[in-house]
């Protein structure tokens, strides 16, 4: 199974092409086959997870084939401890989003084709070890998201979709310029050649004058995706108008592409620049945490509230990354997975509530725990995870991140940033608990008498996510043992 990564990445794509060309399939066949593909991808990624050698820090399951030799562009795939959990997370969320989309009734075939293409491209980003290949997967993702939001979304879906595309393309255009400049100054597109440990070919050998602009070009591309504060304005609109299945992939997997790119490219290839500009990024991270939290408090629509809460929690990822310490970066990686699971669960339950009551505004809800007890339970559990209750993955991740950033010796005054970030935890407790109270408790409203609770299928995948959230929360070493060694390799270049 040397090509297992290629199979994982391209299976959904091949399935999408097959779906596009097969003659009129019944809707059920499309839904079942797409789900089966997602299940197969998940199974294979779990196989990787089981067979991953936790004692090594380098890449595993590598595949390398020449592609355009003149540009040193190779078809080079591999996973390490940082990307593997994200591959599994994407595969899991891919499956969940397929299951959620069984409800779709319009243009079913197209919907599942785009969803499969999207899954392929996200998996490709996490596995690519060549800058050109990375960029290609990064860019492909835009098209399915554009179609998914503007056809199956709600509200002013077309404007939101266009906004998303233009923001993303602007970021990736800068990234493309960064890749071109990288090739110009080093003559290579291979990530392992560009790493500081590699002596001559690495970017570390390039004069600071030219490496700093390149660092920022890459950073801009990733910051749009994450999103980092001044570049976040696409996010609430996109999240509130996207269909739930896309919300899950956007917040759960696509946002992680930004964070992953920062670790894999900005930090790994440009350790000196990262260290020099870390205070700026930490400031932005803290602003994101606090600002996202405050805006979440003021939202009147359930999905927009979750969007801002997601932004606030991604701030912790950025904080952990740019604190540049061993523990903080492990925490950030853990937070990526945990945030993916928790935000997905929040979006799913919010989606169920909005679908059954047909009202997106928080003010018009109330007392729903009576009509939909199962949904309320899931939402409460996800909310407790988001506010960092011990025994949930949210606690393990945020605690490790904050502990790591507080004790980081690489960046000066990381303690102060951590102290301010702690306010974000407090804020999230306030808006989560307040939302639970406004939506699910209080007097029962007569208009909701006929509202039905989550169905069997919905309970199944919500339950699945809850179990994983608690398993990781109780026993985080499942993930940290994988992450640990790879982070050590990256942090060692920091000299801290």
């Amino acid at each position: 199974m040397t090509h297992i990564l290629s199979v994982i990445i391209f299976l959904p794509l091949v399935a999408a092409i097959a779906l596009a060309f097969l003659p009129r399939l019944p809707a059920k066949a499309i839904k079942y086959s797409a789900t089966a593909i997602a299940l197969a991808v998940l199974a294979m990624s779990l196989h990787l997870f089981a067979n991953f050698d936790r004692s090594l820090s380098g890449m595993q399951f590598e595949v390398i084939n020449p592609w355009i030799p003149a540009l040193s562009a190779n078809y080079h795939l591999g996973v390490d401890g940082i990307s593997l959990p994200l591959v599994v997370l994407t595969a899991l969320l891919g499956l969940v989003s397929m299951l959620i989309s069984w409800k779709i009734e319009t243009r079913i075939r197209e919907f599942f084709i785009w969803l499969l293409v999207l899954e392929s491209s996200i998996l490709g980003v996490f596995c690519s070890l060549n800058l050109l290949l990375f960029f290609i997967f990064w860019e492909i993702e835009v098209i399915p998201v554009y179609f998914l939001i503007s056809i199956w979304g709600s509200g002013s879906k077309r404007n939101s979709a266009m906004k998303y595309v233009l923001f993303t393309l602007a970021g990736s255009a800068l990234m493309l310029a960064g890749i071109v400049c990288t090739y110009y100054v080093t003559g290579s597109l291979e990530m392992y050649v560009l790493e500081p440990g590699n002596g001559m070919g690495s970017i570390a050998m390039v004069p600071v004058m030219s490496s700093v602009p390149i660092f920022f070009m890459f950073l801009a591309g990733f910051a749009v995706k994450l999103p980092v504060v001044p570049l976040h304005s696409w996010q609430p609109d996109t999240y509130s108008d996207a269909p739930i299945a896309v919300n899950i992939l956007l917040s759960g997997a696509l946002a992680k592409m930004g964070a992953y790119g920062i670790i894999r490219i900005c930090i790994s290839l440009f350790p000196q620049s990262s260290q020099r500009y870390a205070p700026i990024m930490l400031t932005l991270a803290v602003i994101g945490i606090i600002y996202g939290g405050i805006l979440a408090l003021r939202q009147t629509h359930l999905k927009r509230l979750i969007a801002y809460s997601s932004m606030s929690h991604m701030g912790f990822v950025l904080l952990g990354i740019f604190a540049l310490g061993q523990t903080s970066m492990v925490g950030a990686s853990l937070q990526m997975v945990s945030h993916g699971l928790i935000t997905a669960l929040l979006f799913i339950t919010a989606g169920i509530v909005i679908e059954k009551t047909d009202k997106p505004a928080i003010a018009s809800m109330g007392g729903l725990a009576r009509q939909m007890p199962a949904t309320a339970t899931f939402f409460v559990l996800a909310g407790l995870g988001a506010l960092g209750l011990p025994a949930t993955s949210g606690f393990a991740a945020e605690f490790t991140t904050l502990l790591g950033s507080f004790s980081s010796t690489v960046v000066d005054s990381a303690q102060w940033f951590t102290a301010v970030a702690l306010l974000g935890v407090l804020l999230s407790a306030v808006y989560i608990l307040w939302t639970i109270q406004r939506v699910f408790y209080g007097p029962a409203l007569s208009g909701f008498d006929n509202v039905r609770d989550a169905g069997k299928l919905e309970r199944f995948y919500c339950g699945l996510l809850v179990i994983i959230i608690f398993v990781i929360g109780i026993c985080p070493t499942i993930l940290t043992s994988v992450i640990q060694n790879s982070v050590t390799g990256i942090v060692s270049w920091m000299g801290g």
Binding site: L132, I143, A173, L176, Y183, Y184
Partner: protein, 486 residues
Amino acid sequence: MNLDLLRPEICLAVTAVVVIAVDLLCRHKWLVTVVSIAGLLASAGLALSLSGGASQSIGNGLFALDAYAIYFKFLFLGITLLAILASVDYVNRLPKLNGEFHALVLTAALGAMLTAAAQDIISIFLSIELTAISLYALVAMLKNSKSSESAVKYILLGAVNSAILLFGLALVFGFSGATSLHGIWQAVHSIRPENIAENAGFLLGSALTLSGLAFKIAAVPFHMWAPDVYEGSPTPITLFLSTVSKLAGFSILARFVIMTMSFQSDALSNTFGITLAVISAASMTAGNLLAIKQHSIKRLLAYSSIAQSGYMLMLIATAPINSSPSTDGYGYSLLCYMIAFALAELAVFTVIIIASKHADHDTTDDYAGLAKRSPLLACAMTLGLLSLMGMPPLVGFLGKFCVFIEVAQHGLVWLVIIAVVNSVISAYYYLKIIRTIWMEAPASTDNIKSSIAPKLVLLVSCFGLLLFCVLPMLLIKYFEWLGLHY
């Protein structure tokens, strides 16, 4: 004179004459198409028999037979073949003009092939005029007011442009004493940097020549004709104008710039390089910004094509910074980009040829809901537009990427950044069309009928767009086989 080395061109000229004869003498009009296609294939076969050898010159250096020329012979023959196939239905609707259409398209292609091979200012001018005059007649083919208007615009501006080009070439000859590009290079090379001011005539001549060629590729500020002519021409001719005619302009512009302006990087060549870079930046920016406001799809594509000229010009701007005067050493990127551009234009314009009932006023709204009426057309149009936009995994992305890399390597990083920003601007209007195609309610419910030939063109171009990005080695192997060296 070793005329046998011009076999492909002679074959094409004979075919054009035979086409007219068949049109006069034979009642079966489909025979005209068959003869043209047979002629193109025969010409390609003859070009094949010439390829792979060492570079030679034909007719005392009038024309060159090098890998670069052969690349363009195949490119133009291929595009012409596909364009004729794509317009089968369209031409059948104009039975009286069947013969003229094919004969003139063949002579235009002949002119383009000669242009790419020309390396003497006399042959350059004659070849360019051969293409241009054929196209003047073709633009006017429909004989309605719109078509005639654009033909008059095209002829008048084209005539002025020919005068400018001729004047420029004459000045270049006058001040260098040579008509061959190599002779001009030698003359230029002997000018010392400090004496450059005394050769103002040569500088003026070069500048006028470049303006004349810039008109052919519709680069800003010589682009004004393009939107009107593209809109008014019969769509197959628009396709021809935007591919064969434009790429022929590029082939000679690149050869002229490389062979006469590679001055071992002194102040003069840098000045020319920077001038071209500015024209390139202006073309892509103006093209993309003006395209946003367009409602007519052909006008929009005209502006998009101006922007595309800007991307291709980026590379030519780096040429004066190169040192050796040989087209062989030229990077693959421009040639790769040309193939990507031609495939994308073929896909998009073939869709327009098939879908448009009223050839002269097509708004983008007429394509609303095309996906429901014909998924094949919608897919082809989407792939073509995405490739023009530079979206992976289509060959347009790869072309752009290679161009950016090569331009950055020559130190024009600022130009790369402008180009990258421009790709984002262009995404807006390309995606707007794609959105109209896939998400609006259909503009009408009639089925879109077409014969098999145009569909074949769509399949070929879409397949090419995907294939060459996934397996770029195919293109590189092809270039190596032609004898182009990286």
